[in-house]
């Protein structure tokens, strides 16, 4: 009797551990501040920039903050979460930045950057580690705890690196079938879709440009090529079209982690 109770309890504990990885948010979002370390305005402006990056290059950067990793290591937790959510498209071009915030029980910050399989060439582990050490670290160390600055600076760097590898607009996919007639039909529709997408992109680019102060789209390599807005940023992010959802990208454990 007691034995069976123990078995039942340990099974419950096991399923509890499994359930520790949260399910993807619905509706899908790229910025998931479960720990509540961003202000709503910060969250929305980060979301808007990451959605625009996803739309223009198809690379997805997902930012997640948590208060606990349920006893798992940051990298382990992050890779499970990234695979579970499927950050990135089928090109496996997803990136995940995970924070475990400083809490009373665990007085340190864990950071992990996970790099999707398709971006491992553009962002080797060493680069990810340097971003954590040299860019995010100074914002988080010694009780500074500036998650927002750490996130935006890291995203800026990751966007530069990732767009060098995969940079094509969403929906601009080529058909891979050999059949001539399907190619023909697909070609026609692709043309229509392309025309439509480019028209939309042009329009939303103009909108984006207006909102963010007309920086060039090419991504000049000088610092601060993105205006992240600040705390009094107040326009709604829904006008930029919103995030279309994760695309089933997979992660093989590339990336880096650190603790501050």
């Amino acid at each position: 009797m007691r034995k069976s109770l123990i078995i039942v309890l340990s099974l419950l504990a096991l399923t509890g551990l499994r359930a520790a990885i949260p399910d993807p948010p619905s509706p899908p979002r790229l910025v998931n501040d479960f720990a509540g370390v961003f202000s709503p305005a910060q969250r929305d402006s980060l979301e808007a920039v990451l959605v625009a990056f996803d739309d223009s290059t198809s690379n997805q950067i997902c930012v997640v903050t948590l208060t606990t990793l349920d006893g798992m290591e940051a990298s382990d937790y992050a890779v499970r979460l990234a695979n579970h959510w499927g950050v990135g498209s089928k090109k496996n071009n997803g990136l995940l930045i995970l924070f475990k915030s400083r809490t009373e029980e665990e007085s340190w910050i864990d950071v992990s950057i996970q790099v999707g399989k398709g971006l491992e060439g553009a962002i080797p582990d060493v680069y990810a580690s340097r971003i954590i050490r040299n860019i995010m670290g100074p914002q988080l160390k010694d009780g500074r705890d500036n998650y927002w600055r750490a996130s935006t600076l890291a995203c800026e760097e990751l966007m530069k690196l990732a767009s060098g590898e995969i940079s094509e607009p969403r929906d601009g996919r080529h058909s891979e079938e050999d059949d001539f007639t399907t190619d023909l039909v697909a070609g026609f529709f692709t043309f229509l879709i392309f025309a439509f997408v480019f028209y939309r992109m042009y329009k939303s680019f103009k909108k984006f440009n207006n909102r963010y102060g007309g920086g060039s789209s090419g991504g000049s390599s000088s610092g601060g090529w993105i205006d992240w807005g600040d705390d009094d940023y107040s326009s709604s992010s829904s006008s930029s079209g919103g995030f279309g959802g994760f695309g089933g990208g997979s992660f093989g454990g590339g990336g880096a982690s650190g603790r501050f």
């Binding site: 940051a74 582990d125 093989g252 990336g255």
Partner: protein, 188 residues
Amino acid sequence: MKKTTIIILAIVAVAAIWVISSYNKLVTGEETVNNAWAQVETAYQRRADLIPNLVATVKGYAAHESSTLEEVVRARGYGNNLQPTEDNVAAIQQQESAISSALSRLLVVVEAYPELKANENFKDLQAQLEGTENRISVARNYYNDAAKTWNTQVRRFPSNIIAGIFGFEKKGYFKADEAASSAPVVAF
């Protein structure tokens, strides 16, 4: 007379179709496992390739541990394209966990040298090593899942008949071990 011939032919045709489709399913399944296995091999190879760099950097600080590590890496005496049978997986796991524990002993010794820990080169190496350990654990989990699906397929009736006829075998599992799963946490 003619009717029975037709019936027999029909049965034979159905049986043939069934054999072919089961066989093809098994082939697909085995390819999935082999692919997962190749990822495990790649991840281990990546670590083995990284170790000489690490040793070159830390030799001056931890001579004994470095040479131990070099020895276990050299003893890593299997080539690629090894089939993941139960024996092979167990043997590889044993060799690799010897490397893991030599590696963690080395890193523990190195902890005592702040000037080495502050060295950017060493930090980069550590980052690569950490990423490699993560890749190993991801690849192993993926392989174990694939092997589980495969083993179920091979053992279940009726596909086990086809598996028996064509000599498809069970694949080995990686068992959880402490050394490989505990990648060092890098604190700055």
